[in-house]
């Protein structure tokens, strides 16, 4: 009986504590209902509508829309833009995070602000900037035209705009991580005889890999989905300068709803895959730290004495 009694009183105490920190059932259920309705109307319904509209005229229309040459060209261009922008920003981001996180230099805070610029500027404005610089009437336009280099209304412009818009994702993800980890492990590697590259690939990179992957996933999602900046520099030349988002808009404006939604469903699928990948990465990195903490507590519970070790070593 003696063992049951404290248990029961503990249960009562925790009930009372729970009462003290929560609202009544009525409030709780209405808040949950509001959240569910909101999510349903603004997230799940649109997603369902995308797939429903895409398949409204049957599976054959759906696949025909995806197999159409213009659609294939748009998909290819999107993959090219992302395929160039993501690796570039991966390198830029790691380099920027390395410089900002590990070193002190003049103009550091200015550089951080610059990295954030693409977040602050409307994508349409960033697109316009490229038109003003590289366009025919732009700063470098005449020179580019005389050398027969086409940037605006061509693939290079689309890639440039995508790189610019997605620039902050990797760097932003890594800077706090690199800063928190400090320099000591790198210094240790150097004193142990590692070269700069060895230190980077064997020490720095493994420590930031989850953050890096997370940044790349977000960067990729944005690179494939970018509309505003790309729209300004693209010129909407069918099968040549249309990316998926631009292709969807054209189809939609032409009242071809089923094909528009079919291509849109691809982007929606990409979003779902991104979310899934993001969750897996988050879960993985959390798992890792949790497991290490678990071991750490177990370790402190059974400390080994060193006095015997010292005696043996001598």
């Amino acid at each position: 009986m003696a063992t049951i009694f404290p248990l029961r009183s503990f249960g009562l105490a925790s009930d009372r504590a729970a009462q003290a920190t929560t609202e009544g059932a009525w409030v709780r259920w209405s808040l949950i209902a509001v959240a569910v309705v909101f999510l349903g109307v603004f997230l799940f319904m649109p997603l369902a509508v995308v797939f429903a509209s895409a398949l409204a005229k049957g599976v054959s229309v759906y696949f025909a829309a995806l197999r159409e040459p213009d659609a294939l060209a748009a998909i290819r261009l999107t993959l090219i833009a992302a395929g160039i922008a993501v690796p570039m920003n991966l390198i830029f981001g790691v380099a920027a995070a390395w410089a900002i996180g590990k070193f002190e230099f003049f103009g550091k805070s200015f550089l951080v602000t610059l990295i954030d610029l693409p977040f602050a500027v409307s994508p349409v404005v960033s697109g316009l900037i490229y038109v003003l610089i590289f366009g025919l009437q732009g700063l470098m336009g005449p020179w580019l035209a005389s050398h027969d280099v086409k940037i605006i209304f061509a693939v290079p412009g689309i890639v440039l705009a995508t790189v610019f818009v997605t620039f902050p994702f990797v760097a932003r993800e890594l800077i706090p991580l690199v800063q928190a980890q400090g320099n000591e492990e790198e210094e240790a590697a150097l004193t142990l005889g590692a070269s700069g590259w060895q230190t980077f690939f064997r020490v720095t990179l493994p420590n930031i890999k989850w953050g890096l992957l997370y940044g790349v996933i977000l960067c990729n999602a944005r690179a494939m989905g970018e509309f505003g900046a790309v729209s300004v520099v693209s010129g909407h030349i069918r099968s040549r300068t249309n990316t998926m988002p631009l292709h969807i808009e054209i189809l939609y404006n032409e009242y071809q709803f089923a094909p528009a939604f079919a291509v849109a469903s691809l982007l929606a699928l990409l979003a779902l895959v991104t979310l899934l990948a993001k969750s897996i990465v988050e879960w993985k990195s959390r798992q890792q730290t949790k497991q290490q903490e678990l071991f750490a507590t177990r370790q402190t519970a059974t400390p080994t004495s060193i006095s015997s070790a010292g005696a043996n070593a001598a």
């Binding site: 004193t191 070269s195 071991f295 060193i306």
Partner: protein, 343 residues
Amino acid sequence: MSIEANNISKRFGQFVALDNVDLEIPSGELVALLGPSGSGKTTLLRVIAGLEFADAGTVRFDGRDISDRTARERRVGFVFQHYALFRHMTVFENIAFGLRVRPREARPSKKQIQAKVHELLKLIQLETLAQRYPSQLSGGQRQRVALARALAVEPSVLLLDEPFGALDAKVRMELRRWLRQLHDEIHVTSVFVTHDQEEALEVADRVVVMNHGRIEQIGSPEEVYNQPATPFVYNFLGNVNLFHGRIDGGTTYIHERETGHVVYVRPHLLEIDRQPNGGSHFRARIKHINAAGPLVKVEAVAEWGDPVHIEMSQERFRDLQLIKDEAVFVIPKDVKVFANHEA
């Protein structure tokens, strides 16, 4: 390998971390750099390691000028205060790191690496934990792994930056005795930084006392403790009572017609008695008695109003039967007088 640092100066912006420092460490010695935070001891260690470069001065290993060499080229073993173990590698991989990153022609074979790591694991008594990650180890174990990692590359000198600073008192004591034993075994020239005077006095062959980017005194633990060269050293190496006074014809006068002299007396060099006993003495009143520990600590007020700290053995305390607020005579057994009173 001997270490020589000549005229080392280093600034961080306006802050002078090292001000024309000269230091010579003979081969095979275990030397402590001792000083308060901001005294430049860690900076000096990092300059020797090549992790920091001096604004002026030279560093020599065995007479060779290595001032322009990077940390990588100097082949020093460096142990960090917070271990700096590679968190994504096992204990085994951490220790093997320095061997694995060697250029192909100098890299030992897999078997040799394995043998070397196991030899070091044995040395640090952590053979069973080879596959653990650093986060799964206690602080003391981590620091031993860090030491083994540094020793794996067979460094010419071993540099330790506050190696026991992040550990709790008991582990710290065990580990520093172990370090001393280890050094007696492998005889690699070692320099460690500490702000703990007890640690420096107990472990080191020689102690370098630093303050404000300068070296105050270099000497054996006995020398710096018993013959402090400056008021700072006297003050830093243990508790001290500080009286103003003057010197006149070889006699020290405390608190009489002061001439800017400062008299330093360690608490255990003051004796309490109920009689003046003929020799030097002053009067005091007992304020507080703390009898916990090997020594009884007595706080008294001198006749001129300054507090005086006195330490005595438990036996002496039992013989005297001191009580609070009692008036007694204090007899200094040994004092040290410095002319300036900057300490």
